[in-house]
């Protein structure tokens, strides 16, 4: 049975389907990356793998919480090298695909899902991973171009 983890990211509620995740852990020690992307917080080792950690607040244009800690949502295979850093889990609610309103699907969002008297923006991890890969490729390209120009 599919469920959705509701998190608070800035002014909006973001929903994570349990089927898209492989595990939830406390935020580990992070190692910074040499990319000029503000939402890339760094990398972490998890179960023998190098995992890239993305700050959801920065990704969605919100200011990151000042306090350290939080939870790390590691995506399921084949995106298990990506993890999203969130503050906390507000609720775990049952998920029914029939209730998803896909008319608001755009970019990394799969649609809106009702929760009590609120709406939850359901994240589409594959789209997020694709945009992230695109942004990283662009950054690496610009970085390489800058090095060539400098040499």
């Amino acid at each position: 049975m599919q469920k959705m983890l509701v998190t608070r990211i800035g002014r909006r509620n973001a929903g994570w389907l349990t089927g898209d995740l492989t595990e939830v852990v406390a935020a580990p020690r992070l190692f910074p990356l040499p990319f000029p992307l503000p939402y890339l917080r760094g990398t972490a080792f998890r179960r023998g793998k190098l995992v890239t950690v993305v700050d959801c607040h920065a990704l969605m244009g919100e200011s990151s919480p000042e306090h350290e800690g939080g939870l790390l949502f590691r995506l399921a295979h084949p995106l298990s090298h990506l993890a999203f850093l969130v503050s906390s889990v507000e609720a775990v609610i049952p998920y029914s695909e029939l209730s998803l309103r896909e008319d608001h699907a755009e970019g990394i969002w799969a649609g809106l899902y009702p929760w009590e008297d609120l709406w939850v923006n359901v994240i589409k991890p594959s789209a997020a991973a694709a945009e992230l890969s695109q942004a990283m490729a662009t950054a690496i390209h610009q970085l390489a171009a800058g090095r060539d120009h400098a040499s």
Partner: protein, 412 residues
């Protein structure tokens, strides 16, 4: 001239009579011729003798008349140069004696008028000085009289003040006795206060010990609260981990599909338990923090109480010391007030005696005032007498000057 003829005629008649008498005696029976011749001769002799005698007498008398004329003019410097043993000589000597005596008398009168004028002038000056001095004395006596009146009034007021002082001294004596009683009461109260302060000091010691024990116990509470806070943090950590574990169980249950449905229920219950645990741990943490804060406040209050108790103890000691000093001072005050009471009683007695003396002084001052008034009247009478004497002296001086002017008409 008429005198000379008269004198000559008288001399002739006398000579004739003397000659006729002599003839009658020597020749009593002669005839008439002889008689007439004799008479003629006698007349001739008598005439010659009378003329000679008259001339001789007239010359002396003229000299004496000249002297008398000079004397009548006031010239007493004339000397009578007629020397004879007859009546004219006697007259000349009498006149010379008269001149001498008159010269001597007038000389003495002149000298006396000069001395008298000087004396009268001196008397006038002295009278004036005496009058001035008498006036000054009168003024001084007037001042003395006024002073005596003021003195009498002052003495009367002093007598009144003395009566008031006597009354005040008596009141002071009464108040001193009351104050002495109050001082005794104050000394007793101070001693009681010192004893109470000592007991309060002991009580403050007990309070300090209790407060110190309370601070220790509350500090123990604070330590326990800190331990509870640490335990609650551990529980929160466990709850957080349990929560994460439940989330992972939920994920695993979803992955297992229908087979994991029951496991999902269990995972959900575990997640709720972990959330409840976290909520309770959060409440306990808040309570623990509140307890810690309150305990810190209690510790602060207890420390303040301890400081206040310590300060109170010091002040109680100071109060005890002050009360002991007050007790000593009250004893000294009591003795001093007792002495004041004795002195006030003596003062009251002395002021009573002084009052009697002041009454006597008042009588004397009144008599002095009356005496000075009489003296003032006497000086006024003396001043009037001196004025009269001065006027009389001036009159005498005037008479003396007039007498001297009369005497100065004579040449001495």
């Amino acid at each position: 001239m008429r005198v000379k003829i008269t004198e000559a005629f008288v001399g002739v008649v006398l000579m004739v009579l003397l000659f006729a008498a002599w003839l009658d005696i020597k020749y009593p029976a002669e005839d008439w011729k002889n008689m007439i011749l004799k008479i003629f001769f006698g007349l001739l002799v008598g005439l010659v003798a009378g003329l000679v005698s008259a001339n001789f007498l007239t010359k002396k008398l003229v000299a004496l008349a000249g002297v008398a004329e000079k004397l009548a003019q006031g010239d007493l410097t004339q000397e009578v140069s007629v020397h004879a043993s007859d009546e004219v000589g006697l007259l000349a000597r009498s006149l010379a004696s008269l001149v001498r005596n008159l010269r001597e008398v007038l000389g003495q009168v002149k000298a006396s008028t000069g001395s008298m004028a000087q004396a009268v002038q001196s008397l006038t000056v002295s009278t004036s000085q005496v009058a001035t001095a008498t006036t000054e004395v009168a003024g001084n006596i007037q001042g003395i009289a006024k002073g005596a009146e003021k003195q009498a009034a002052s003495v009367e007021r002093a007598a009144e003040v003395t009566v008031q002082v006597a009354s005040a001294a008596s009141a002071i004596a009464d108040k001193s006795r009351v104050t002495e009683e109050h001082a005794s009461t104050s000394a007793e109260r101070s001693a009681e206060g010192a004893e109470a302060a000592g007991e309060a000091n002991a009580a403050m010691d007990d309070i300090l010990r209790h407060v110190e024990k309370s601070v220790e116990q509350v500090s123990t509470f604070k330590e326990r609260a800190t331990e509870i806070h640490s335990l609650v943090e551990g529980i929160s950590t466990l709850s957080h981990q349990t929560h994460i574990l439940a989330l992972n169980a939920t994920i695993e249950a979803a992955r297992a599909g229908d087979a994991g449905r029951g496991f999902a229920v269990v995972a959900e219950e575990v997640r709720r338990l972990s959330e409840n645990t976290r909520e309770l741990a959060s409440q306990i943490a808040r309570l623990s923090q509140e307890i810690t804060g309150r305990t810190q406040e209690v510790v602060s209050r207890m420390e303040e109480t301890h400081s206040a108790a310590r300060l109170g103890q010091k002040r109680t000691e100071a109060v005890s010391t002050a009360l002991e000093r007050i007790t000593a001072s009250a004893e000294e005050t009591k003795e001093a007030v007792r002495a004041i009471s004795r002195e006030a009683a003596a003062q009251a007695l002395g002021t009573s005696s002084l009052n009697a003396i002041m009454s006597e002084i008042q009588g004397v001052a009144t008599d002095n005032a009356a005496g000075t008034q009489e003296a003032s009247a006497a000086t006024e009478e003396t001043t009037a007498s001196m004025d009269e004497i001065s006027q009389q002296a001036q009159a005498v001086l005037n008479e003396s000057n007039r007498l001297r002017s009369l005497v100065e008409k004579f040449k001495l």
